[in-house]
Symmetry: C2
Subunit: 286 residues, 2 copies
C-alpha cells in the first residue's frame, strides 16, 4: 500500500497502478473519508475492492465543511490505526494530505449545490454542503475517472454528491452503500466515540424510532405526520436526546412530504446529545 | 475532424485520439469558445496545434454567463463557418453540444471564484464569472487532463480560470495567449460585428488610449491616476463611446492601484457603444 501526502505523489502512484492505458472508470475505486475509520468505511473499501482494479482511500478532515461552532479541532483522528485498516482491506493507495495541499494559498473557489444543500443538514449547518461539494470536487479532480464510494448514513451528502457529479459532468460513478450499524442498531459514526455510556445507551432511541416507523410503513401506515411522530416520540423518550429535526422527505428534492409517504421517501433525523450530534436515516420500502 | 454533440461522443473520440495510454496533459489541447470564431480563436488553435498531440475545440454559447439584459439570444452564431475554421486549423475534435447536454435537467451546481469575480467585469455583469467558472469546470471535466488555451483579451476571465484550475486541483495547464488585433488596432471580438461603421471607427479610441498609456508608462509615467486619465480622455473624445470602467489594477488581486503602477499592472477598460459592449486591456511592461 502506497501512502501519499501530495496530489502529485498520488497522481503518479495512481498512473502507475492503472498503467496499461486503462481509462475505464471501473479502474479506480475512490473512498473519500475524514479518517477515524470504522466498519462503515471498511464496508466501502470492500465494495470498491470487489468492483475496481485499484482502490484509493483519502483521509482528510476537511475544515470548510465545519461551521465555527462545529467540532473541527476536536474531530477524532488516528492515522496509524486508519492506515492499518486500509492495509487490512487491501487498499492500494492512500492520500493523507495537509490542509495546504487541498486548499492552496489564496484558494477562493467554492462549489455549491443549490436547493438540496439548504435543507435539513444544510439548514442546521450553514455552509456545510458547500464545504463538502468543494472538497469532493477537488478529490474527484485529483483521482480522475473513478467510482466514488459513499455511505447512505450521510444520505443528504450522498444526494449532493450525486447531483454535483452529474451537474459538473464529472467522469465519476457515485456509488451509495448501505448504513453499517453496531449489533444493537446504532449507526456507525466516527462521532460515536464522543458519547458517554449513558448517551450511548439512549442514542439507541434513534435507530429504534426509525425501525418502528419503517415497520409501521410496511404495515400500511402512510401518513407522513404519523410516521414522523413515531420517530420523534421514541427519541424524545430519551431524556438526554434533543432532536434537531425529524424529516420525511422526497428522495429527489428533499422537500418535506405533507400527505402520504410512498416508497423511496427518506426518513431522517439529527439528534443532539450534549456536544455530540448524530444523524441517521432509513429509506421507506428501500 | 470529428464533430461531436454529446459528452459521451466527445469522450469516446478523445480516448481514441489519445489511445496508446498517453496520460500526460500535453496530450490534449482544449480551446473552449462561444463560437463565431475569429482570428483570436484561431491563434489559440494554432498554439494548441503546435504544443499538443491532439486539439479539441468546444463551441458553446453558455447561457449562465449572460445576465438578463445581456445579449445571449442575439449573440452571433455561425456553426458552419466555425467548423470550417476549425478544420482549416487542423483541429482534431469539436464538441458543439446542446444546452441540455451541458446543463442536465435539474442542474443546480455552481462554481464561484471569490473576490476576483466581483470587480470590473464581475461588478458590471453580476453572476457573469459564476457562469464562466461553472461552464469551464464542466468543459475541463469533459476534456480530462489537458492544456486549456484562453485569450488575454478576456484578462479577468483568464485570471478566474487560472484560479479555479489551481483551487480545484484540476489536471489542467491554463495557457494565456496574446490579444489578436485588427490591422488598425481594434481587439478582435465576436461582438465587433454589432458595431455600425461609425461606432467601429470610434472604437479605435480604446486601443489608441491603451497604447498611449502604455507608451507613457514606458516613458516613465507611473502615476496610476494619470495613466487611467490618459485612456479615459482618449475614449471620451469619441462621442458614441460610454466608458464603463477604466481600471489600472494589481495583476494578482485586481485591486485598483492607488499610487504608482509597476510592471505587470493590468490596464483594462469596458466601453459601451449603444447596445454593444467592448473590452480591451494591456499589461504594462508586459
Amino acid at each position: 500500500m502506497i501512502v501519499t501526502r501530495t496530489v502529485a505523489e498520488f497522481r503518479a502512484a495512481r498512473d502507475e497502478l492503472l498503467a496499461g492505458g486503462q481509462t475505464a472508470r471501473e479502474g479506480l475505486g475512490l473512498v473519500p473519508t475524514m479518517g477515524y475509520l470504522h466498519e462503515g468505511h471498511r464496508s466501502l473499501m470492500r465494495r470498491a475492492r470487489a468492483e475496481c482494479s485499484a482502490v484509493a482511500v483519502t483521509i482528510f478532515v476537511n475544515p470548510t465543511q465545519f461551521g465555527p461552532n462545529d467540532d473541527f479541532t476536536r474531530y477524532p483522528r488516528d492515522e496509524a490505526r486508519d492506515l492499518e485498516a486500509c492495509a487490512a482491506e487491501g487498499v492500494d493507495l492512500v492520500l493523507a494530505p495537509s490542509i495546504e495541499e487541498i486548499y492552496p494559498e489564496g484558494a477562493c473557489t467554492t462549489v455549491s449545490v443549490g436547493p438540496l444543500s439548504r435543507v435539513l443538514e444544510g439548514a442546521a449547518r450553514p455552509g456545510h454542503f458547500d464545504g463538502v461539494a468543494t472538497v469532493v470536487t477537488k478529490l474527484f479532480a485529483i483521482a480522475g475517472p473513478c467510482r466514488g464510494y459513499f455511505g447512505q448514513k450521510d444520505a443528504q451528502q450522498l444526494m449532493v454528491i450525486r447531483r454535483l457529479a452529474r451537474d459538473l459532468v464529472l467522469p465519476v460513478d457515485v456509488v451509495g452503500c448501505p448504513i453499517i450499524r453496531e449489533p444493537d442498531g446504532l449507526a456507525m459514526s466516527s462521532r460515536n466515540v464522543y458519547l458517554s455510556p449513558e448517551e450511548r445507551s439512549q442514542a439507541l432511541g434513534i435507530s429504534r424510532g426509525l425501525r418502528q416507523a419503517e415497520a409501521a410503513w410496511v404495515d400500511g401506515v402512510r401518513d407522513a405526520d404519523s410516521l414522523r411522530a413515531l420517530v420523534r416520540s421514541e427519541i424524545e423518550a430519551q431524556p438526554l436526546a434533543r432532536p434537531e429535526y425529524v424529516s420525511l422527505a422526497d428522495t429527489e428534492t428533499l422537500e418535506e412530504l405533507a400527505g402520504l409517504a410512498g416508497p423511496g421517501a427518506l426518513l431522517s433525523v439529527a439528534v443532539r446529545f450534549a456536544g455530540t450530534r448524530l444523524i441517521d436515516n432509513v429509506v421507506l420500502g428501500g
